[in-house]
């Protein structure tokens, strides 16, 4: 008999975080309990079991990879708006990325686009995950 399996077909899950992060640093964001802190939009086709599996898989994956994802996103480039009104875009070198990751924040607005593709069963989840973070940070 085939064991019970649950399929995920790249349905998009979005998490919205508004105004969180006071006194946090970006480097601590892996400790953020996403599904407690965020407003979550689950795909309408998902069952309660889909939600349980996705919540566990994505929270653990975020904990393990948030630091790397945020560093690499910063390295790809940032848009900035300074207190004197100057704005623009720039690449971020290694030192700046490290500094931004460690600097205390005033607030963060974030949108996380998440997708799972694969199967879940008693043996676990097997497949692939997509994470698309978009962040707006005020220092």
């Amino acid at each position: 008999m085939t064991p019970p399996k649950l399929t995920f077909n790249n349905e998009e899950l979005t998490l919205t975080l508004n105004g969180v992060g006071a006194d946090w640093t970006l480097g601590q964001f892996g400790h953020l309990s996403l599904f407690d802190e965020a407003s979550v939009q689950f795909p309408s086709s998902w069952t309660d079991l889909h939600i349980k599996v996705a919540t566990q898989v994505l929270q653990l994956h975020w904990q393990m990879n948030a630091h790397l994802y945020l560093e690499q996103s910063l390295q790809a480039g940032i848009s900035y708006s300074l207190r004197d009104g100057v704005s623009g875009q720039m690449g971020a070198d290694t030192d700046l990325v490290a500094h931004v990751m460690q600097r205390p924040l005033v607030s963060v607005d974030a949108l996380l686009s998440l997708k799972l593709e694969g199967e879940a069963s008693r043996d676990g989840f097997s497949g692939s995950v997509y994470v698309g973070p978009t962040l707006r940070i005020r220092f």
């Binding site: 064991p3 399996k5 990879n65 900035y80 207190r83 623009g88 973070p133 005020r138 220092f139």
Partner: protein, 47 residues
């Protein structure tokens, strides 16, 4: 587009104070992960 701050981290505390930054990324990877505390039964079959 305005000119970016020149010395980046060396002046970070000065120019980041009161600043807002925005950035984004896209990441995808294969994943195999055990699940804990989730009960599957025969009614959960999904073809």
């Amino acid at each position: 587009m305005s000119e970016a701050p020149e010395s980046q981290a060396e002046q970070s505390d000065d120019w980041l104070e009161g600043a807002t930054i925005e950035f984004a990324g896209e990441f995808g990877e294969s994943l195999d992960m055990p699940l804990e505390g989730i009960e599957f039964d025969d009614s959960d079959y999904v073809a």
